[in-house]
Subunit: 359 residues, 4 copies
């Protein structure tokens, strides 16, 4: 078995096993990577204030998300092109999530078709959606997600354009021949095919993604599906309120892992104002910087229903395929359970803002 | 004589004399060791505001603790398995504490039986207690502490489970054949014996310690002993109030030296809210990060009656046995006395919050 | 083409191409270079709070400045002696600014005469003015700026004496024989000529610049020209108010790139109080530390109408002449446009203080 | 001439010219040298807010101190044993101070008799006093200071005991045979003589200095001299008020250059509360960390009448004797004058709290 004590060990192993440019494609952030590092540093600035003698024998990490019970409030975030990490790609991730009793959010830009991912998934699957200029493509993607029994659509709203990921520009990162955006192949756009052979994902996004996306687009999306719609990529409390006004079933506080707008606020710093404004009307989720069970605990304490991990599971995937993802999920679950036990929280519901101290 | 100017020098010598894994067992903290370093950094953030011309000729470091007069408000914290540091183990520590006119708190997990420690102790001895699933074991430990004339029971409440000490996982730390948890040998549990030959202290704790421990357990403990009961491992003012409500005779503000919940607040940062809530009803103690007389002074200024040192005395023990512990205690006493003289405090009681400035 | 992903790359190339002493003349700041680094660090302390789903398809970076429309709110700051960077000097800069649809502010201390710069400039030109002890020289410079169709006079007020630039003292920096302050040659002062052969720019400034400059001098300047007069080098809100009282048409918040008073507040830290006091009566500009489109965005969010870049364009000039300046301007414009798109701002006017968060 | 651009250069030269242990005796601070570095860091945290267009042609650094006009508000602090730096010792310092038109405060522990220092001094001389257990020694020292026409007595109150200077303990620092505490030789105490041959300055202080010093001692001192009495070593506003109540003619905010109580507040951080409490009744001075004219300016802005430099002049003395001290004083004067010109302050009186910004 891979020798790894924590998620950071998996990252070190992934770095060894991947090509430098693929590793950098995952590891890097936008421009000066200020937000990338802030996502981590901000967690460190939050201290824990544990309570004692409340019993730590029946700690339960289970949580209910949109009517589904998860064993642990840590899901797999939508990340592109998992085959860059391991030949089993998203299939390995989906199987690991299922065995861990948690959910996966499949990316539009997966390197495995969402139908295949759905077939492999043992647990609930969400589908992350980019809205395309060609609304028929978008409509078809939504229909396919419904047919594949996805439980929710997660609309990413922080990518009207792609952020400047300078590591990729320096490395000349391009897709290996055996990796492509599988979900889009059937639409046969010349652009999609061409991109498979060139490096310009930025150009691809600019050509295909719809930059005119507005709150009205959310209404349109809601009109073509009965699935719950979550809005991912919110950092402002005002936008959280607008999302609810426009019928969102949930909000994902995210800065796209520091890959879009460099300098954007760390997600855990943005969370408190958002959960205050949302006031429990819909569940709030968070991704960005989660590497430890204590990070999960801090997000829950500040009002998140659950969190998503991106790079953390990709390092496990790169290191050891499905087994690696399984171990990363189990590490975080065990660390969260321990954090809860040591903080005096038998259940996720017992975790409150009083358990943390913002400097 | 060992050449050492301050406690940090003793740490450097201990590092040379101990096996790397034993040194790391003492030196390390939980997970990313954030709390371990915060315990030190937080002291550094506090500035001293000395007063002048109040006379510095009769500085007295003496303090009364639970009716006993100590020469200095620096006691020895309960630390496990002192024979890892030096063959004389807890006996050397107890003798040094007695000669220094201060108290020692013997750990349940001592590598010398509490009876032998008590026989060696020249000064007051407290007994640190973990509550076992087998309440008869617990009851017997308390009875033995009473028979050994311990002056107080110190119930550790921050260890319903053991923290993740990753240095130990990496080093494969296990007990040398000549070191064991002496106090528990008579109970002959297979688990205890097995642990002596394996590395899984975590497993041991999970098997033997009672994770259902609650405030009701405190009531039970009080029912089986007339000794004063202190609660150790409190960081929250609410828990300090609960401890008093449940009859505690004192509170030890502690995060277990950063070895349990990583990210937990530094003890000196947690102290002011706790002493404010306790409002003098019971004495408040602190451990974690004490390496200088100025650290002791800062803790006293923020309301602690006395402090405990763990690693600081272990480095002295590892470097030079009883003589090393004696010198560490004398260093801290002399540094505290000097700090008092230079701050314009003739007595410990004269030290007030006005002598420090929190940034 | 020069391989450069961002402005920092151009700086690295410039460092290779320039003599160390000329590079240091540009790169250095006063004394301990505290303000030099604070100008950058202060931007980093400001987080962005992007808004979503407002449409990012028609992002317009255009801005109106003193009645002139610029394609982008990033102009070229007045910097001395551009021929130190490249033989084409200010001509290359002026052409690049014109092609980019933005303005250049020509320095009194340019190494090309303002008439030649004006002839090369395709866009609006401003003229930066130092007031000389000999008011006839000053009057003539203003008249020449008018004849060259400059759109504004920018009076620098932070240089009654020259700051201590210790890198220059250490390097023995002096002008190469082919570089001189072209604008002043016609006045044939012995001092000016002598300086061309010696290193003491400080002495030169002290001999020629008028240290008695006061607000009354502003009134005199306004009496001899009908051009708009901007005051450059203001960090205090009180001075901003005085500038308006004395008829200034605009204010440039500047600490001279950290080259004058070391320890002076970072410009982006000084900006909010100034824009609050100015309250829209005149446009406020900023220079100092701009290296990214996000920096431009932050300045606009805190009330600046536009920003100026000094070193940033000099690195492009040193690396690749006019083409280098063009690319630096285009980098910043593209980064700003992307920042606006990702922040939910279609126009510059849509950028507000709510888009940033001061720690 | 010694090549030095700033005071830090002189420190580097001094390090080369002195024995390591003598250099460390000057350079070091108490214990972990937290206060030593904070004295510098705290200046860096203060930003300057310069004003413009107020005229910079007639900047005057002159200041009046206790009725005497100084060319510059930077005096020489009392420092022990200047012959460790240079054979000319205090005589060189006194001559340099006089030529610079500023004052020197001669230390009780000078390596030249105060009478000889007074004869060399071209400007005003103060005498720093430690109170001895033997009050007749103290009385005689005061009388000698009067006869030597010293203008004030500066009572040091932060040294009832000597701080722990661990560099000296490590280096085994002891006095060279040709350096002694000249002022005390005539009293012929065995202790003083013995110390000249041993390393224990700490022991010496403990044996000779009077640790019972209280505010009553101040009254006694005032009864035996008509010279103005200043109290040096105050960090608390309450003590500043007490000093005035007891007749002090001035206060020196000092932490003994970080050599006494480690962790004591940086002097520039302590200054504002003290000047607020003193409210102009007596002049307030400051030492600790002054290396730049901007540091002097910041202290004046926060209410100091003048500052004293210790290590800064010692580095000049070690590098180049009297000429080195002269250059250090001139550097600081020129830097202060430049800072005033660039901040819009023609006179020292024009420097106000509005010229700085505390973070």
């Amino acid at each position: 078995m891979i020798r790894a004590v924590n998620v950071f060990d998996f990252e070190a192993i992934a770095r060894e096993r991947m090509t430098p440019s693929s590793f950098d494609y995952y590891a890097g952030g936008a421009e000066d990577e200020v937000t990338l590092s802030e996502n981590r540093d901000a967690f460190r600035r939050i201290a824990l204030l544990p309570r004692v003698l409340v019993g730590a024998d029946r700690v339960q990490t289970a949580v209910e998300v949109l009517g589904v019970s998860l064993a642990c409030p840590v899901g797999l975030a939508p990340t592109a092109l998992n085959k860059l990490a391991h030949a089993d790609g998203e299939l390995a991730a989906a199987r690991a999530a299922g065995k861990a009793g948690t959910l996966m959010c499949c990316s539009t830009a997966s390197s495995t078709s969402l139908e295949d991912v759905a077939a492999a998934a043992g647990g609930p699957l969400w589908f992350q959606l980019y809205v395309y200029r060609d609304r028929e493509v978008t409509r078809d993607l939504v229909r396919r997600a419904e047919l594949a029994r996805c439980k929710a659509i997660v609309l990413t709203v922080d990518t009207p354009r792609l952020g400047r990921r300078e590591r990729d520009a320096r490395s000349g990162f391009s897709l290996p021949p055996d990796v492509s955006i599988s979900n889009l192949e059937r639409y046969g756009t010349p652009e999609a095919l061409r991109w498979a052979q060139t490096s310009s994902f930025t150009e691809y996004v600019h050509k295909l993604f719809d930059p005119t996306l507005t709150w009205e687009s959310v209404a349109w999306l809601k009109s073509i599906t009965s699935l719950p719609l979550l809005i991912k990529g919110i950092l402002s409390a005002d936008d959280a309120a607008l999302a609810i006004d426009h019928g969102a079933s949930g909000i994902v506080v995210s800065n796209h892992g520091g890959r879009q707008l460099d300098g954007a606020m760390a997600t855990i710093d943005a969370l408190p104002a958002i959960t205050a404004r949302v006031a429990g009307r819909v569940p709030v989720f968070l991704d960005g910087g989660i590497r430890r069970g204590t990070d999960v605990f801090k997000a829950l304490a500040l009002g998140a229903r659950a969190v998503f991990i991106g790079r953390a599971y990709l390092w496990g995937l790169a290191a050891d395929g499905e087994a690696g993802v399984t171990r990363v999920l189990e590490m975080l679950r065990a660390e969260l359970e321990l954090t809860m036990a040591l903080s005096g929280c038998q259940t996720v519901a017992a975790i409150t803002p009083a358990h943390v101290s913002l400097r």
